[in-house]
C-alpha cells in the first residue's frame, strides 16, 4: 500500500488525538464525530467534483477489457501482502491458493492482466493486516475519517502501514518512485469508485444521515470480513 495513505492516516490520528478533549461515553465509538463529519463533508465535495466525474469518464470511455485488466493487475500486486496475512492468520489453504494465484496470474496471466487462476479453480480472496490485527484481538479504535481516503480507524491505518512493508514493489528502485505510488493509489481508488458508481449514489440518495450510514456500512463490512461470513455476534 502506498506510503501516501499510511502517512495521512497516522498524521490524522495524531492530529485528532491532539485537538480532541477527553471523549465521553459514545455508543457509536465515534468520539471525534464532529471532526469526522467535517472531513466527511470535504470528502463528499471531493467525490462530487473530482472522483465521481473521473470514475464516470473512466467507466464510459475506457473499454471494459482494459478496466478489467487494470483491476486484475492491481489485485495481483496485492497478493504478496494477502499471502503474508493468510500465513499470519494461520490459514494455510488460503495461503496456498494465494501463492498459486500470484504465480499463475503473473506468468500465464501476463503480469496479472488476466485472472487465469480463477479459471483454473483458484478463487480470489482479500486479506490485510487490519484483519490480522482484528483476528489477534486488537480493537478497532475510535472511528476515523481521513481526507480523500474515507473511513480509516487506527487498527486499519496501522494495518495499511504493515501491508505497505509487505508490498514487493517498494523494494524496486524506480525513478520518481513516489509518483508511481501516488498513481497506483489513485488508480485503485478510481477503479473501486467506477465499480460502485450506482451503488454509492443509491445509498446516498436513500440515506437521511449519509455519514451515519457509511459508518455503519464500513463497520458491518469489516466485521463480516473478520468473521468470514459466520453468524453475527449476539445483540
Amino acid at each position: 500500500m502506498p506510503r501516501v495513505r499510511t502517512a495521512a492516516a497516522l498524521l490524522a490520528a495524531l492530529a485528532l488525538g491532539a485537538c480532541a478533549s477527553t471523549p465521553g461515553p459514545d455508543a457509536n465509538n465515534d468520539p471525534y464525530e464532529s471532526t469526522n463529519r467535517e472531513i466527511f463533508h470535504f470528502d463528499q465535495k471531493f467525490d462530487q467534483w473530482m472522483l465521481e466525474p473521473s470514475a464516470e469518464y473512466y467507466d464510459d470511455y475506457v473499454p471494459q477489457g482494459i478496466r478489467n485488466g487494470a483491476h486484475n493487475i492491481l489485485s495481483n500486486l496485492n497478493q504478496p501482502a494477502v499471502f503474508v496475512n493468510d500465513v499470519l492468520q494461520g490459514e494455510p489453504k488460503n495461503a496456498g491458493e494465494t501463492i498459486a494465484r500470484f504465480t499463475v496470474n503473473t506468468t500465464l496471466g501476463l503480469a496479472g492482466a488476466f485472472d487465469t487462476a480463477a479459471r483454473l479453480g483458484l478463487p480470489p480472496h482479500t486479506n490485510d493486516f487490519g484483519l490480522t490485527l482484528a483476528k489477534w484481538g486488537v480493537g478497532e479504535g475510535p472511528y476515523l475519517v481521513l481526507p480523500m481516503l474515507g473511513a480509516d480507524p487506527p487498527r486499519d491505518a496501522i494495518g495499511q502501514a504493515a501491508d505497505f512493508a509487505f508490498d514487493p514493489t517498494i523494494y524496486v528502485h524506480l525513478k520518481a518512485h513516489i509518483w508511481w505510488a501516488v498513481g497506483r493509489e489513485y488508480l485503485t481508488i478510481l477503479d473501486t469508485r467506477a465499480r460502485n458508481l450506482d451503488t454509492v449514489n443509491e445509498i446516498e440518495r436513500s440515506s437521511l444521515d449519509y455519514y451515519a450510514t457509511t459508518r455503519s456500512l464500513y463497520r458491518q463490512f469489516r466485521d463480516n470480513q473478520i468473521h468470514n461470513d459466520k453468524p453475527p455476534p449476539e445483540e
Partner: protein, 217 residues
C-alpha cells in the same frame, strides 16, 4: 429369433423402468434436506425475482406486484420498530403508527431498487443457522447467468422470524451488510441530531420516498 427379440425387449423394458425410477427419485428427492426457513426463502424470493424479470409487465404493474410480494414476505412493522432503536421507548402510539406507515412506503421504494439489482439472476439456498428458537438466517447466493462459474457470487442472507406461527423476513444482508442495521444507524443518528423528533423523521422519510420513486421512473 423370437428368443433374441424377447431378450432385447426385456432389456429395453428394464432400461425404461430404471430410467423411470431414477427420474422419479431425482424429481422427488430435494438436492439437500431443507428446513422450513430455507424452503420459505427458496420458494418466495424466487417469486419476487420472477416478478422483476417479467418484461411483459408495465413499470407501474411490476411495482405494484412487487410491493404486494414484499408485504407478504416481510414483516415491515417489526423492521420499522427496530430501526427506531432507543427512540421507540418514548414514542407515542400515534407517532409509532405514522412512522410505521411512512417507513412502509420508504422501504418498499428502497427495497425494490435493491432487488432490481438481482433481476435476471436466480437464487440458490446454500444453508442456514439459528439465531434463537424463533429466528433463522438463511444463506443464499445469487447466480448470474452471464457468469455461471463466478468464483465469488453475491452472498445474500435473509433473517427469517417466526411471527405468530407465520414466517417473515425481518432483515436481509448483502456481503455481510444488514439493511435493518444500517437503517437503524441512519435513523437514530438523524433523531439524535433532531432532538428525537419523530414527526421530523417521518417528514424526512416521505421526502426520501418521493425522491426514490422519482428516480425509479
Amino acid at each position: 429369433m423370437v428368443g433374441i427379440k424377447h431378450d432385447v425387449f426385456t432389456a429395453g423394458l428394464k432400461a425404461a423402468l430404471m430410467a423411470l425410477i431414477l427420474a422419479a427419485g431425482l424429481a422427488a428427492a430435494p438436492a439437500r434436506a431443507a428446513n422450513p426457513a430455507e424452503m420459505f426463502i427458496a420458494q418466495n424470493v424466487q417469486r419476487g425475482l420472477v416478478i422483476l424479470n417479467n418484461k411483459q409487465l408495465g413499470k407501474e404493474e411490476r411495482r405494484s406486484q412487487f410491493q404486494a410480494f414484499l408485504l407478504g414476505l416481510t414483516d415491515i412493522r417489526v423492521i420499522a420498530d427496530y430501526t427506531l432503536g432507543q427512540y421507540r421507548r418514548g414514542a407515542s402510539p400515534a407517532d409509532m403508527a405514522a412512522f410505521e406507515d411512512a417507513f412502509k412506503d420508504y422501504a418498499l421504494a428502497v427495497y425494490q431498487t435493491y432487488f432490481d439489482k438481482f433481476s435476471g439472476q436466480t437464487l440458490q439456498v446454500t444453508g442456514s443457522y439459528p439465531l434463537d428458537p424463533d429466528e433463522t438466517v438463511v444463506k443464499t447466493v445469487m447466480i448470474d447467468p452471464a457468469k455461471p462459474n463466478d468464483p465469488n457470487p453475491l452472498l445474500v442472507n435473509f433473517r427469517v422470524a417466526n411471527e405468530g406461527g407465520r414466517p417473515a423476513v425481518v432483515d436481509f444482508s448483502v456481503s455481510g451488510v444488514w439493511l435493518r442495521e444500517t437503517e437503524r444507524s441512519d435513523f437514530t443518528s438523524y433523531l439524535g441530531q433532531n432532538s428525537g423528533n419523530i414527526p421530523a423523521l417521518i417528514a424526512a422519510l416521505k421526502t426520501k420516498t418521493e425522491q426514490e420513486r422519482a428516480s425509479a421512473r
